[in-house]
């Protein structure tokens, strides 16, 4: 197992808090992490639902959900960006 720090921003932060630590099997992808969080039900299931547009970053770089997470990584989930 590995420990992953998960951060949330914008509407996801309001629903889930700014961050939490999650234990995951080694070799898990960001998509697998999202599934683990979804299975908790409640607000996690609501805001991370598959039909919701959620973007993710690994170590502060935007990546696809197929990307594998390494131990100690910083992962973030957030809605589509709206700056500028």
């Amino acid at each position: 197992m590995m420990k992953i720090q998960v951060r949330y921003f914008a509407s996801l932060r309001e629903a889930l808090g700014a961050q939490e630590t999650v234990e995951l099997p080694a070799g898990s992808t960001l998509g697998a992490l999202r599934d683990v969080l979804l299975e908790r039900g409640g607000r996690h299931a609501e805001v991370l639902a598959p039909q919701r547009p959620v973007r993710c970053a690994l170590n502060q770089v935007m990546v696809a959900e197929t990307t594998v997470i390494e131990d100690g990584a910083e992962v973030a989930f957030f809605p589509p960006v709206t700056g500028g």
Binding site: V61, G83, G84
Partner: protein, 156 residues
């Protein structure tokens, strides 16, 4: 001068452009863009806006965009300032300024950087209307704007 600043404070276009081209007599053109807070959005009146970002990632993402612009266009310098925190209608939000030898590359690089920033830099806008506060939805048109540059990275 840093190429990227994320700040709550306002910025001064004249001072930023002066610093951008300071000491470089090869500059013959400066193009700039400023985004400001509108008082209407999707048919509703907007009385205030709050901008959130991802400290560290936001700066690095924009640095990488400027690297891409420097590779793609014949430009000499670029600068991005983006405000975060509480803002009001008419406030300045973002500045992109690009210096080059001739105008064409400066215009193009400025638009490229704005198109890139709109869909790939981690910022989120929350606007206050008469019905309360709401997060702004990303626009498909902004993804299309980035695709014009041959970059297919969907956001909305």
């Amino acid at each position: 001068m840093p190429r990227v600043s994320i700040q709550t404070a306002d910025f001064d276009l004249s001072a930023e452009v002066a610093a951008l081209r300071d000491g470089d007599a090869g500059v013959g053109a400066v193009a700039s863009f400023i985004g400001t807070v509108r008082d209407r959005s999707d048919g509703a009146g907007v009385s205030a806006m709050e901008l959130e970002h991802y400290p560290g990632m936001t700066e690095n993402a924009i640095e990488a965009m400027i690297d891409a612009a420097m590779q793609r266009f014949d430009i000499r310098a670029a600068r991005v300032v983006h405000r975060v925190g509480p803002l009001l209608p008419q406030d300045q939000i973002v500045l992109v300024a690009v210096a080059s030898a001739h105008r064409g590359q400066a215009f193009q690089a400025c638009e490229f950087l704005m198109d890139y920033l709109k869909t790939q830099a981690p910022f989120w806008k929350k606007e206050t209307t008469a019905d309360g506060a709401r997060w702004v939805d990303a626009r498909v048109a902004d993804d299309a704007a980035l695709r014009r540059w041959g970059i297919d990275k969907a956001n909305a």
